[in-house]
């Protein structure tokens, strides 16, 4: 029997107090995610249970019990306090998937500071925009990533400390840098946990905007209630599971379901800090006897590409449940998974802003390959008519995916940008920015984005941000950035570029621009294709018409061109 049981029954009798009771929380109580993920489990007598099996790309392994992660997060929290970091301040985690990332996240929350995880592959411009917007006080990083912080430090007066967790003691520390070694620190047995309440800010994740710069999605400690229950019901996570979430905590899946939910439930989780290869991944599942695996469509399609034969080389019999998130999971991937693993990947749908799964396919419910599934119990989801902003009366019509904004892990605002937050609502509904239809049985079917945002391998990339960065390249006069279909990543970034006088299109220039964006923003934002064009389609008022270029890439109707400027 699955944790969720019969879906329809759960919907009928649902209340978030189910999670509150299980977690021993009552409205008005102190609620601190860091404490729930460590101290509480130890207080239940499970301190010696393994919380984390970690393996790095060089084969180094580390194992931490729940008592170990309690002590380590205390130690990091105490170190930050010793530096003068106060509750409410933003502390950025800019690291690979090393243990200090997971433990540092919990330590930051324990002292009431706000954790701001950033993807370690971000270039200096992406980093600057996010640190500057959050007015971050401290950055925890590794020596390999510190140069990117140093490059922009002069423009970031709010940063008081750059904490380097693997300083070798040889290279001199630079401006505002301080070394910290978890292994060499005396473990802190007791830390006064900051008495955060339900609405105290916890995590700040940045997400791409359609027209503006990235927005800081602010979550609160009460998000735990949704994250805990959705992990139990949608992911069917159980205390005796060996769980592997492949997401990087630089993104929301990696924190909601890669740190908060599994540790709050008390499972053993596994982290492999290595680049993708089918062999390494299957070997990891075999070695760790993984039972529950939460991954992403891009990875699943890459595994499909690696073939069926390689699967047979490994003993994957420990697996009992699989789930996916990040972008729509195509029906072929679901069917393939059933064939090679003997079970489907259950697709789940949510966003940085929702903080937890809001629509999904649940164990025990019929999986319709290619469908997003149904709203999680307690979530009211619909598809709105984009003109009237009202739910469609009939099924099967494509419209805007919208939600009643009332579950515990919903974002509370965009950091320093309440105006953008308010724009996410229409007629009392939260507008996700995605389009879908609902079939007669209540299943949602993804139909695409409702804006220009590019979803590449489950990560959102703003065309505006890429276009702005392209303009900083000396050869680029104008650019338009759109998505292009890709069999593995769903979409990839494509740039149309006009050149300044004196520059000529060439393969070398193409590569130079690709690398320019990769280093400035991130590998995800790097155009995988650049098309040099003599001019870009524009409206008579001079606005670049991305939609025309997008339609061409996707083989769609170009639509109304009445406002197109004549050549």
């Amino acid at each position: 029997m699955s944790n969720i049981g019969p879906y329809d029954e759960r919907v009928k009798n649902f209340s978030w107090t189910i999670a509150e009771k299980e977690l021993g929380y009552k409205p008005g109580d102190v609620i601190n995610i860091g404490w729930y993920c460590t101290d509480r489990i130890c207080e239940q007598g499970k301190g010696s249970k393994v919380a984390l099996h970690w393996e790095g790309h060089t084969g180094v392994e580390k194992t931490y019990t729940y008592n170990d992660i309690r002590l380590a997060s205390n130690t990091i929290g105490a170190f930050l306090r010793g530096l003068g970091v106060k509750d409410g301040e933003r502390v950025c985690l800019f690291m690979d998937k090393i243990p200090e990332l997971y433990l540092g996240f919990l330590g930051i929350l324990k002292i009431g500071a706000i954790a701001q995880p950033l993807f370690s592959a971000f270039g200096d411009e992406s980093l600057f925009v996010r640190l500057s917007n959050a007015e971050t006080s401290a950055v925890i990083t590794q020596k390999k990533h510190a140069p990117k912080v140093r490059k922009i430090l002069e423009k970031l007066p709010h940063i008081r400390h750059i904490i380097i967790v693997d300083h070798d003691g040889v290279a001199p520390l630079k401006d505002r840098e301080v070394a910290f070694s978890l292994q060499k620190s005396v473990p802190v047995e007791h830390l006064d946990i900051h008495p955060t309440k339900a609405e105290s800010a916890s995590v700040l994740h940045y997400t791409s905007g359609t027209t503006g710069m990235p927005k800081g999605v602010q979550h609160v400690h009460y998000s735990l209630i949704s994250q805990y229950l959705t992990a139990k019901w949608a992911l069917d996570l159980r205390e005796d599971d060996i769980y592997w979430c492949t997401a990087d905590p630089g993104w929301v899946t990696g924190t909601s379901y890669g740190i908060i939910a599994p540790f709050a439930i008390g499972v053993t989780q596994c982290v492999l800090d290595a680049g993708f290869s089918a062999e390494a991944w299957y070997k990891w599942i075999e070695k760790r006897r993984v039972t529950m695996w939460y991954s992403a469509p891009t990875a699943i399609r890459s595994l499909m590409k690696a073939g069926d034969e390689i699967v047979k080389k490994f003993d994957l019999s420990s697996l009992r449940h699989l789930a996916s998130v990040g972008e729509p999971l195509n029906s072929e991937a679901v069917v393939w998974s059933q064939k090679v693993f003997g079970m489907p990947f259950y697709d789940t749908y949510w966003q940085t802003e929702t903080g937890s799964i809001v629509i999904g396919n649940y164990p025990g419910m019929e999986v319709r390959p290619g469908s997003m599934g149904k709203p999680f119990p307690g979530i009211t989801g619909t598809v709105l008519d984009p003109v009237k902003s009202e739910p469609y009366a009939a099924h099967g019509r494509i419209g805007l995916v919208a939600l009643k904004f009332d579950w515990p892990s919903r974002m509370r605002t965009y950091w320093n940008n309440e105006e953008a937050f308010q724009k996410k609502f229409r007629n009392g509904w939260y507008i996700t920015g995605d389009r879908s239809k609902i079939d007669k049985d209540g299943y949602f079917w993804f139909a695409g984005r409702d804006d220009d945002i590019i979803n590449t391998a489950g990560h959102l990339v703003s065309p505006f941000e890429v276009e702005s960065a392209l303009l900083e390249h000396p050869a680029v006069a104008e650019s338009a950035v759109v998505s292009k279909p890709d069999p593995i990543n769903l979409e990839v970034v494509k740039a149309f570029v006009t050149l300044k006088p004196g520059f000529t299109a060439s393969k070398d220039l193409d590569l130079e621009i690709m690398n320019f964006i990769r280093k400035k923003l991130s590998p995800l934002a790097m155009p995988q294709e650049i098309e040099f064009v003599p001019s870009l389609p524009k409206t008579r008022s001079g606005k670049i018409m991305r939609r025309i270029l997008h339609a061409k890439e996707w083989g769609e109707e170009i639509g109304d061109t009445s406002t197109l400027e004549n050549d």
Partner: protein
């Protein structure tokens, strides 16, 4: 040719994908599984090789395994250069 090719690839990866004070690369350093070059960045590395050697590496051959070290990349490139004649 192999030695020269090895050094060209090693120098390019060092210049483009490593931070200034990173550990020096060797011909066997794991690039993809070691997290130095991710799957997105692999596209620009592949483009560099194609431009430099006038070859076209099909997507099916541009696997994480084939790009996982300088030595493996060199073998791949040599194969396509030989095909080109």
């Amino acid at each position: 040719m192999a030695d020269e090719l090895k050094d060209i690839v090693l120098n390019y990866v060092t210049k483009e994908y490593l931070e200034d004070d990173s550990e020096p690369l060797t011909y066997e350093t794991p690039l993809i599984s070691g997290g130095i070059v991710d799957s997105f960045s692999m596209v620009s590395l592949k483009r560099f090789l194609e431009n430099k050697y006038g070859i076209a590496i099909p997507d099916d051959e541009a696997t994480p395994e084939a790009f996982d070290s300088v030595n493996k990349i060199v073998s791949l490139v040599q194969r396509f250069v030989a095909k080109k004649g």
